[in-house]
């Protein structure tokens, strides 16, 4: 029954998306506002299709309807309910369904937000683009990635359940949906960018319309990536949180271009420049989400995450090529209208710093993209097998990252147009001396290594500059008699809070990747071992039977205090046991325990192998991620997000209408 309902729902979504595109196209051709309004309403049918399909899938999963191939492959009667629900996105077909659902949701919000302007060709074109993207994903579901395919032959009585790694921690319920909210969210700004190109209304109006959409998508993507790192740390048990794995890179790439966009867009709003560049960044962000889906879903690169292989690959690659080709053609076609009226007067100015920032992010993106696809290129070129891994990415991105930290400190204090030495001195002296003080303090307490010291110093510099900005803004709010909250909301102020989050995260990254110590100890019950000033005592191992797995739990006392329980989980259908680490988290450092080998059943002394890893500042990563998400919310806070021209810091008044211009047809 779920199969029929699901297939019908997918057909409804696909048909509505296509009909919507057709109706809007005809409406635009005939300049018929009634058709345009009608066309926009198809979005709601697409949403209905996505919701029904999701409901059918969830019903099938929860009722263990093993007649569906997807449920037979990813469900089991013994899997706990939470992981049965999240089973939907534990494999390719269900992930595409989740993508479709999120996209339909975004399109519905967009339709609601712009319902009064359905007759505006810009909105109509944006809706066409959005619906076309939705049609593609429904097409995938109707064809090669059909989640509602039924099994051939007899219906199995039980299934293997989701991939063991995906049913070992509740974060699986948050990390993928968060990531998808990020990826898919960029569809809306992308749709408006294409609409601006098609309609030729290339002023700053569409930017202003989609600024918050981009900001929210960015916030979700940030949270999704940080949660993924946390998950990797808490669940995968190898002690790290970022492996430069292709799947991780696939999520980082659109984040990098989106971050560049959020910055360079300010130059366009303020100075009317960089129009082609901003369009390109949005196109890059959207197409990188599609490319990432291709890389991770087609099985073209195997990795710890790539649990799927299918014929979906060529279709997604084709769609990626189409997106890139159409976008480039449109930008080329509108080239003459995109020429910017402004000019940059001095490299030492806010816009100069934004340019440098964009160069940095572009270089970062290039390195990560090249490193990720290079094994494929090399293999295609001369059949050479090679890998590009963490050492490459770390070495190549570290200088870029440090440069970006430096810019983060300098850019916010630079005025638009041109900076004088006096201004720089006044605004940078305190942050710079704070940074130097931290560097000296680090060296004094024995921190060694140019990389981490540079990261700590530049991080402090950037954080001090951000705090200085917030202090100035609190003072200004006090003077103006407005609530102090206003000193923290809005794009610039919220952005500074995000910057502080980035610094905290960067310091965590530098500290934890530079000064980790790890070792494995074979211990009999009662024996102790020590590493970097921490003592671990192995107390024994017990076995816990759970419905869907068998857990061997070692009991290990850390520093004579609390007992921690790293474990090994044996899932019935998996050959290899999945470790679950146990972490003593601290402000300064984490003690990370893994059970590498449980005692053999017939061993006389009951020795187990315990992995101990002392890693400093890990908790800073999660804290930094949290601050970034919070800062994003502040930046998107309604009211006061656009500064009135008289409040600007010395530059020319914004060449931007206070309200987006509505153009009647």
């Amino acid at each position: 029954m779920s199969a029929v309902a699901g297939a019908a729902a997918v057909a409804l979504g696909l048909a509505s998306a296509l009909l919507g595109v057709a109706t809007l196209a005809i409406g635009l051709r005939r300049r018929d506002p009634r058709l345009l309004r009608g066309g926009q309403r198809y979005v709601w049918l697409v949403l209905a299709g996505a919701l029904l399909a999701t409901a059918a899938m969830q019903y099938a999963l929860l009722t263990h309807d093993f007649s569906l191939r997807f449920v037979a492959a990813n469900g089991s009667r013994s899997t706990p309910t939470l992981y049965t629900i999240t089973g939907m996105w534990s494999a390719l077909e269900g992930s595409i369904l989740l993508w479709g659902l999120v996209l339909a949701g975004y399109l519905a919000v967009m339709a609601r937000r712009f319902r009064d302007r359905a007759a505006d060709p810009m909105v109509a074109w944006a809706t066409i683009v959005g619906l076309a993207v939705a049609a593609f994903f429904f097409l995938l579901m109707a064809g090669p990635a059909n989640p509602f395919r039924v099994v051939d032959g007899p219906v199995p009585l039980d299934g293997p359940g989701p991939n063991p790694l995906l049913q070992n921690h509740p974060l699986v319920a948050f990390h993928p949906p968060m990531l998808y909210l990020g990826y898919v969210g960029f569809t809306i700004p992308f749709a408006f960018a294409l609409a601006a190109l098609v309609t030729g209304r290339l002023g700053e109006g569409w930017l202003v319309e989609t600024r918050r959409w981009a900001l929210f998508a960015w916030g979700f993507l940030t949270a999704g990536i940080v949660l993924g790192a946390w998950w990797s740390y808490e669940v995968l048990g190898w002690g790290g949180y970022w492996a430069w794995d292709p799947v991780e890179n696939a999520s980082l790439l659109p984040w990098l271009t989106a971050t560049a966009y959020l910055h360079s867009v300010m130059v366009q709003e303020r100075r009317g420049m960089l129009r082609v560049w901003n369009l390109s960044l949005l196109v890059a962000t959207f197409s990188l989400t599609i490319l990432g889906t291709f890389l991770t879903r087609s099985g073209v690169l195997e990795s710890v995450h790539a649990f799927s292989e299918s014929a979906v690959g060529p279709m997604i690659l084709g769609f990626f090529a189409l997106v890139v080709a159409v976008s480039i053609a449109l930008i080329g076609w509108r080239g003459d209208r995109l020429r910017s009226p402004g000019a940059i007067d001095s490299a030492v100015s806010r816009e100069g710093a934004f340019l440098a920032n964009n160069l940095g992010f572009a270089a970062f993106t290039f390195v990560v993209l090249l490193g990720t696809v290079f094994p494929l290129i090399a293999e295609a070129l001369n059949g050479e097998q090679l890998s590009v891994g963490a050492p490459y990415f770390n070495r190549m991105t570290a200088p870029v990252g440090l440069t970006l930290l430096f810019l983060m400190a300098v850019a916010p204090v630079l005025p638009w147009r041109k900076a004088s030495g006096d201004v720089l001195h006044r605004r940078l002296a305190i942050p710079a001396w704070t940074a130097v003080a931290v560097v000296v303090a680090c060296v004094a307490v024995g921190v060694r290594g140019l990389g981490p010291i540079a990261a700590f110093g530049l991080g402090t510099f950037a954080a001090a500059a951000a705090i200085r900005h917030l202090v100035v803004s609190v003072r200004a709010a006090r003077r103006a008699g407005s609530p102090v909250l206003r000193a923290f909301t809005g794009r610039t102020n919220g952005g500074m809070v995000v910057h502080i989050g980035v610094v905290v995260l960067a310091i965590g990254f530098a500290g934890s990747s530079s000064f980790a110590e790890s070792r494995q100890f074979r211990l009999a019950p009662g024996q102790s071992a020590s590493l970097s000033g921490h003592t671990v005592t192995y107390l024994g191992t017990r076995t816990v039977e759970e419905p869907h797995k068998t857990v061997s739990q070692a009991r290990v006392r850390i520093d004579g205090g609390k007992v921690y329980a790293p474990g090994l989980n044996q899932f019935p259908f998996a050959t290899q046991a999945i470790g679950s680490p146990s972490v003593k988290t601290g402000f300064r450092e984490d003690v990370y325990l893994t059970l590498v080998a449980a005692p053999e059943p017939d061993s006389p002394d009951g020795t187990a192998v315990i992995g101990v890893r002392i890693q400093p500042l890990v908790v800073w990563l999660w804290t930094g991620g949290g601050i970034m998400a919070f800062g994003t919310l502040l930046a998107a806070w309604p009211g006061g997000r656009r500064r009135r021209p008289q409040e600007t810091d010395g530059g020319p008044a914004a060449v931007m209408p206070a309200e987006p211009v509505k153009v009647a047809t």
């Binding site: 002690g239 990795s303 000019a343 007067d345 390195v367 890998s387 001195h425 060296v443």
Partner: protein, 150 residues
Amino acid sequence: MTRRSLSWAALALVLAGALVVGSRGDGSPPSDAERAHRIAQTMRCPTCRSQSMADSDAPAARQGREEILRRVGDGQTTEEIQDYFVSRFDDSILLDPRKEGVSGLVWALPVLAVTAAVAGLAVAFRRWRPRRRQATETDRALVEEALHQP
């Protein structure tokens, strides 16, 4: 003016001193275990995709680590140990691609791209140098209108 430059010079001096001290190691040469760990980080665990031999708990990675430690104990250089693993598996064992041949491109291309981009920006800046433009009648009218708006 001079006081300001003096303060920045002092800052640079203090910073340089701290960095010189900070970039020097703690003096003692790395132990065999540390060296072995560092080498293990540059090679892939043979049965995984992107985890290094240092990070993985797979049996093949454990054997690899023991082999590295043994060879470090025998006084072999990093290159000799890497060559041994390449001969046993293939080039894909190295997470740090070699700097010659096709794999050299992965190192060179970003450097070339960034250099080209910086050069391009420098040219663009020169072109962007403010050119004096005569205000047209329309411009004046616009300014006039804007100034007299309530």
